[in-house]
Amino acid sequence: MTFLIIFLCIVLTAVVLVQLGKVTEIARTIRGEADAQEDLNTRQGFIGMVFMVLFMIFCLGSAWYYKNWMLGYGPHESASEHGGVLDSMFNITLGFTYVVFVLTHIALFWYAWKYRGRRGRKALFMPHDTKLELVWTAIPAIVMCFLVVNGLMAWNEVMGDDGDEDIEIEATAQQFSWTIRYPGQDGKLGEKDYKSITGLNALGQVWTDTKNLDDFNADKIVLPVGKKVRVRITAKDVLHNFDLPHFRVKMDAIPGLPTYFYFTPKITTKDYRKNLADYPEYQAPDPNSPDKKLWETFNFDLACAELCGSGHYAMKKIVEIVTEEEYEKWLTTQNSTYFTSGVRFSDEDPYKNDLFDNEDKAQAAAFKTTFESTLLSEEDKTIILDKVEFAFAKSELTPLSRYQINHLAAELKRNPNVQIELAGHTDNVGSDENNLTFSESRANVVYNMLLQKGIDADRMRAVGYGDRQPIGDNDTDAGRQKNRRTEARIIAQ
């Protein structure tokens, strides 16, 4: 119904306007064309002048009204060091263009008014004026030179790929989110290969590149104030754009072609918020947390500025600028993707059959503690070799088992009086007889390994117990798993 009424109103207005048009046309014929045209010229010229004056006032007024959103004014001062240069370039250009804008508009509408057609007036025959034309060719040319030189100096300064950054991070875009990668302790980002992308490995990090092993992904961009940052910008699927409006940073993210941008944050988020507190625009309560004001919840944003599909408008990451101490502290709370997101020892891990030195050392230390406490213990003389595992239904050690056997050998060497029994156990699946032989052969494998490591044969014996000494519930998978084990029992010390 409303729709119909609105529609009828529009139709009615159109009809009225058309009738008005017809009437004025008839009136014009009655009055005489020349008379009517002269009046019309005066009226239209005058309207033009009024428009021009109001337009100029509107331009200034609106600029004044929005001054706190303009570049380099009010709270929106650049948060990066290079941004100030760009803002001043903007404002210099604004100065020149504003003068041209005002002068040409005054001339345009003032001439239109002044030289409006009147009967008896003769138009000036002025086909050209070489001198004038040279002047107004030269002036813009000179101004343009000035702007080009300044602009290009700033541009090359900002865009140079000098490699003098303090920190390099990586931003990878995909539909419709960002992944932010930090280089970890080595300060270097590892290689990526898009074909290595999996559920565990969101960025396709190539794990054989050891630079990757300490890299971590952060849920926001945290950067220390005053440090030069190089952002390596990549994309997985389509074009995106790494846009940090407060930092005057913008660069496309392209699949297959990494780009970069350098910038140095010059103010922390906290200090920026304090500056915002002075402005009325930021006094309103934050709609998302009404007990706080807008300036208190302000954050720098990372946005996408290249159309990337239907979720383009929602690719947000928070950017937090902190002091250097806070940054260092934050770094310690972040964990390497490789070690903490399930990649380590998964099938994707090229090192799944090896331990890194630090892992080996940690395991050795843990084993040493267990070994020593077992030596001291009165009752429990059994050490479960929890890292010694066999391939399924075989008497073949898994590759990682060698480390614990090494540790056992090392402890035996350090404690030359200790003698042990290597006890093999199975779960209750299969016949007793088989289990007995099976457990014995597995114990023997460990025994032989230790022999090779130089442990005297008379210090050890290998015994298979089959399924006779369960320590877990054989009715559950977890229990059976617990029961399949190899133990080192101290029989003399």
């Binding site: 004025t24 929005y66 001439y111 290009l152 699927d237 913008k250 944003d301």
Partner: protein
Amino acid sequence: MASITTTKVSETDLLIEEYGYDDHFHEHHDEDKFQSSFITTYIFSQDHKTIAKQFLITGMFWGVMGAMMSLVFRMQLGFPEESLMWLKPVLGKWITVADGVGTLAPEFYYALVTIHGTVIVFFVLTAGLSGTFSNLLIPLQVGARDMASPLLNMLSYWFFFLAGAIMFASLFLSTGPFSGGWTAYPPLSALPQASAGSGAGMTMWTVSLVFFVVSVLLGGINYVTTVLNLRTKGMTMWRLPLTIWAFFITAILGILSFPVLVSAFFLLVCDRALQTSFFLSEIFIGGQALEHVGGSPILYQHLFWFLGHPEVYIIILPAMGIVSEVLSVHSRKPIFGYRAMVYSILAIAFLSFIVWAHHMFMSGVNPFISNFFVIFTLIIAVPSAVKVFNWIATLYGGNIRFNAASLFGIGFVSMFISGGLTGIFLGNSAIDIQMHDTYFVVAHFHIVMGVAAFFGMFAGVYHWFPKMYARFMNETLGRIHFWGTLIGAYAVFWPMHYLGMAGVPRRYYSFDTFENFSHFANINKFITVAAVVVFALQVLFIINFFYSIWKGKKVTTRNPCGATTLEWTTPIEAGHGNWPGKIPAVQRWAYDYGKDGKDFIPQIVPLADGEKDNGDH
């Protein structure tokens, strides 16, 4: 107005008879062949004047389509909370309903933005503007019976029609029309996995635009050939009106640049259909790593903008030509600095081919290369400034007759200044870092090549409507149309500069996610309301247009606005062949207004003894 006309009808005929060139046209009997039935007269017509009208009315159709699309997405931006249930009957599943509140689906928002851009740039401002006025004015103003090849000319329109039909059909696809932006950057446009519109929607979009390029080329070759070969006796290049110069150079730009677009599309189609890797490399999408390796998405951008930048001049040059002519006629003064105007058209056209990468400063091209593009881009400001100063100087000392045509001419100059100046910001790569892909860009190009080009087009329609339909458009409605549109267009686009300065990115469906971009709800409401008003005024224009075709005031004199150019020497209702007898011969340049105390001297009037021709000297 009639009193200003000093040349009498009979005088014109006498001059044509005495000096004109007899090509024995009346001895041919082509007229029967060309205009014998309804179909050959109004549909498959080979008459350039009819084809011009076809281009214009089809352009108007697409203008309304494009504008309505913009209203829908402006509703989303200005009033995101309002229910759009009332659009459900039209948009169907693209309005998603939750709790009785209808919301525009983001996919369709992007489809609207994309198709709005595509049809306004190509169908309205290229075909509707250059197609209309090149067709109408080139034969009439150079003194030719018709285009060099009327058949190709007719085909040019029908390829355009076909392109439009395909684009229109794509709106009804179940996966939606193409929605990856009018620039269609791969990989988004290449991979159906990336966006629903990149499937069948993109296929139809590409096919449509390839037909469109065929149309532009057929038209362009015709325009160039006609201007070069079919100028009448005495019509030297330096006696051509600036409209013809503009159309001529525009056609050359189109011929040189549109094929490059097709080559980009060709490679894109190969990537889409034949698994080639021209633009695709190392893509992981939809849980799958694609085999494409070694392509460059930036290559597409180079090819696209090699057309794309000349394209904006293909749009604006005809408007400049029309405005130069209209301002001169209605100021009763020669265009100031005719040669400078021609040279600046040439300079702009030349430079337009070496500035394309200024669209790509932030797209990952080597920053060193950008240096050159900054220099060339900002140099364009010089010929552009010359043109502006010359238009203003044309008004200076004039005896200006205000009517809808001249008002739109003046409005064009204002828009071109406002939009052109912001180009100086964007062309400077250092400033573009912050401004690229923000609302500042939206404001810039809408004012300088959108609104300004429309103003040029309106000036042309109001000015040459009497030549097209032998009737006048209603002037009162025209003036309401002008002032409303001028104020309304500024109200729509001026505030966008402030959004851009605050860093608000363009092509955002909603600003809810970003606290920092959501401060501008009021501006967005204001813009949307202004856009609705401006749209209503264009409806008024269309009413005026069609009303005037049948009911407008009749033209009673051949040369109602007292212009010097040849189109006004034809009969009021010019038939096929334009002049019933001889073709008029040209004796002087096109801008003898106010010379030697005469209000104007038509081009067919011979130079007086010792009189100097101000053009061809």
